[in-house]
Symmetry: C2
């Protein structure tokens, strides 16, 4: 529908064109996934520029583990650019179903609800992954190579923006879900994921700034 490739094989400029366009996808959900993926990538970069350096031999094993987790999260988050579009399109598709008869109305209402639950779970998974990236970035800022420590600061800011951005899409879609047990369960999980992240992000940013001066 958008006429834009909305996967990670799109160019950066092309993705931004699609984001800016009057088409609803890609939108904030895709931007959130990219923010998280940039955070994960920067954690990997800090690890890559620390591992193998004599001065950092003591943290080498820990940073190898960190890099492995960051690369898994980067792959997950990169895949979410397209998942977000698919989830949105499914909601739009369900709203577009026929509603002439009572049977059609019931089938349409049920299809909308199925799509909305999926469109809640996709950004919630993005929140979960971004939260993990924040935790990894905090370790990278503490233990990574001083020469690239600013990149750990950018990592935590990107992941935090990704988390709070994806949260907005959880709120939007959860609101329209009629199964309140489902919706409230997802909102509780979101609150748990958000909990403490503002403080951890600021703490990590301060650690980085202190190391820069």
């Amino acid at each position: 529908m958008a006429g834009h490739d909305t996967t990670a094989t799109e160019t950066v400029a092309g993705f931004l064109d699609g984001l800016a366009s009057e088409q609803p996808t890609p939108g904030g959900g895709g931007a959130a996934a990219i923010s998280g993926a940039m955070g994960a990538a920067l954690v990997s970069m800090v690890c890559n520029l620390t591992i193998g350096k004599k001065k950092y031999a003591e943290v080498e094993e820990e940073l190898k583990g960190l890099r492995e987790k960051a690369e898994d999260l980067r792959a997950t988050l990169t895949g979410m650019i397209a998942e977000d579009v698919a989830a949105f399109d499914a909601v739009m598709g369900a709203y577009g179903l026929p509603k002439a008869s009572d049977d059609e109305k019931a089938a349409r209402a049920e299809a909308i609800q199925v799509a909305l639950r999926q469109a809640t779970d996709v950004p919630l998974a993005c929140c979960r992954a971004c939260r993990e990236v924040i935790d990894l970035a905090a370790v990278a800022a503490e233990k990574g190579n001083l020469n690239v420590i600013s990149d750990a600061g950018v990592a935590v800011l990107s992941a935090h923006a990704g988390l709070r951005s994806a949260a907005l899409n959880v709120y939007v879609n959860a609101k329209a879900i009629t199964d309140r047990d489902f919706a409230e369960g997802r909102l509780r999980e979101l609150n748990d994921l958000l909990s403490g992240t503002d403080a951890l992000t600021e703490k990590t940013y301060d650690v980085v700034k202190a190391k820069l001066s």
Copy 2:
């Protein structure tokens, strides 16, 4: 040197690969530019999905102006992905100059300083552009189409992350500049740009969240 295309014609996945790699560019500076550009693109998207709608006729002219500014800033910020790499490479190149004789040492020291001033001005320009995107996103969140208001929230978060990310690169490079008048002037401008943005970002996020519920 990086073996990665580091312009906006790179694919999203390729850019993320380059970010994660053991090469120092692209790094946090490029990520900051993309965050800012995503923010600008999402302001445009909100404008595009508001302009032409009867319900929003009253704000149409204002949002057309907003979109024009957002599109200019998006172009500027997209160009900064490559500028950041060039500025970093220039610093590395200057450090790599010969230093056998006193003349060579003096020429090298001067070349390093020239490159460092440029490597301070590039992220400072990114901060300036991101600050403007934050201001535009605040208006988009106030006046944009309610159906896409979450995208205005993502816009402000992305631009704010871009601003604070680029600020780290200003700190890094300003520190090594021997012309303290230059460095302190740039740090003063940075402080002015940062001033009030945490509060404005939170206020805008709260405006969006309130409209979602």
